[in-house]
Symmetry: C2
C-alpha cells in the first residue's frame, strides 16, 4: 500500500512517496541493513530481481528463511550445520584431529582450507575479544575450546592460534595462549610479516617491524 505526503518547496509542489507495507520498499530497507549495502544499492538489487530474475528472488527468499531457522552451530567446533547432518570438521576422518586450528570466523576457516594447508581440525570462536565493545571470553567459544582440549588431551598435539594480526586477534591469541600454557600442549601462532609478492617499501610500518622482529635463521 502506498501513501503520499505533500512537501512544498520554493514555488513548487513535490510529491514524496511514503511507503508502508510495500514489499519492494520493505525488501530494500531490510537489505540496506546488511554491511556495505546502502539504500540505493539495496533498491538496485531488488529492482534487478523484480525486473529480470524473480526465480532467484523467490529461491533466495526460501533459502534465507531456511538458513535463518535451521542452521545451528556444531556443539564441538562451532561450524554451522543443519540438524542431523555430519559436521564438516568434527565428522570428517580426513582431517587431522590432533591439531586444532582456532579461528575467529567460518570465513577464516574457509580461507585456511582454501590455502592448501594441511587439513586440520578447526575451532571457530565466532568473534574476537573486544573489551570496548563489551565482548569478553564468555561471549566467544572459549569455554567449549577448553572442554574440547580436556576431553581429547592425550590425542591432541598442537593448538594453532590463527586469529588475525590486529588488536582483537592479538589480544585473543594472547589470552588463549595464557590459558593453555600449563596444559603441556604445543601452542603456536600464525606468522605475521610481509605478504608474499609485496614490495618492502609499500608495507606499513607495523607489519615491517613485526617481520623484522620475527626474522629466523635461513
Amino acid at each position: 500500500m502506498c501513501f503520499f505526503a505533500i512537501r512544498s518547496g520554493a514555488n513548487r509542489l513535490t510529491i514524496v512517496m511514503t511507503k508502508a507495507n510495500d514489499p519492494v520498499e520493505m525488501c530494500a530497507k531490510l537489505m540496506s541493513r546488511l554491511p556495505g549495502i546502502g539504500t540505493r544499492s539495496a533498491r538496485r538489487l531488488i529492482y534487478h530481481m523484480l525486473e529480470r530474475d524473480r526465480t532467484t528472488m523467490r529461491e533466495l527468499g526460501v533459502m534465507l528463511q531456511s538458513a535463518a531457522n535451521d542452521v545451528e552451530e556444531c556443539g564441538v567446533c562451532g561450524i554451522w550445520r543443519t540438524p542431523n547432518t555430519p559436521c564438516i570438521s568434527c565428522d570428517n576422518t580426513k582431517r587431522d584431529a590432533s591439531i586444532i586450528c582456532v579461528v575467529a570466523t567460518v570465513q577464516d576457516m574457509q580461507a585456511i582450507d582454501g590455502s592448501g594447508a594441511s587439513p586440520w581440525s578447526f575451532h571457530i570462536l565466532h568473534g574476537l575479544l573486544s573489551p570496548l565493545d563489551g565482548i569478553g571470553p564468555d561471549d566467544l567459544r572459549v569455554h567449549t575450546l577448553l572442554q574440547r582440549i580436556h576431553t581429547m588431551k592425550d590425542e591432541l598435539q598442537e593448538v594453532v592460534l590463527a586469529t588475525p594480526p590486529n588488536s582483537g586477534g592479538e589480544a585473543t591469541a594472547m589470552y588463549l595462549s595464557g590459558l593453555l600454557k600449563n596444559l603441556n600442549i604445543r601452542v603456536t601462532r600464525i606468522a605475521s610479516g610481509i605478504p608474499v609478492g609485496e614490495e618492502l617499501h609499500f608495507v606499513d610500518r607495523l607489519t615491517l617491524s613485526s617481520a623484522l622482529s620475527a626474522r629466523r635463521e635461513c
Copy 2:
C-alpha cells in the same frame, strides 16, 4: 548436507568442501547472482546475518518471496504495485496527468521525483532499445505508451523523453519521438550537458560537445 572431495596437490592433501543442499551455501550462491555481488561478498553477507541478525535474515526471506510473488506492473504506467492497491502514479490526483514523463526504470522515476521537479505522471519502459542484446520496441512498454496517449489525447499536453543520454537512451528517445511526431503533441527531451558544479576541463569530450551545440540565448 556436506560432501567431501579429496584433491591431491604437490605432496599435500587438501580437503575441498563440496556442498549440496547446504542452506548457507545455497544462500551465498543465489546472492552472488545479483549484480555487483561476488561469491566472497555474498558469503560475507550471509555469514553476517547468520551470526548477528537472524531476524533480518528471516524477514528478508519472507519479504523477498512476497515481492517475487505479489508485485506486478501497473497496466497503465508500468510502476510496480501490489494487487488491489492504488498506483502511485496513475491514482495520484496530485500528479499532473497532462504531462507524461517517459523513463527507462523505476529508479530513474524516483530520481526525477526526488529532484524536486514538478510532479508529472510517469511511464516506465522497463528497459531501453538495444538491438545487440535483441531488445526491440516489443520488449519495452512502447505499445502501452501509444495506447495511453491515444486514450487521453485531448488531455495530454506534453511527453517528456527522460531516457539517459547514452547510446540506448538516445536510440529509444529518437525512436519514440519518431513515433509521436505526427500526433500533434509536444514531445521534449531532457537536456544533456555539463553537470551542475562540474569543472569544464574535467568533462568528457562528448558531453562538452553536446553542451556547446545545445547552447541557448541568455
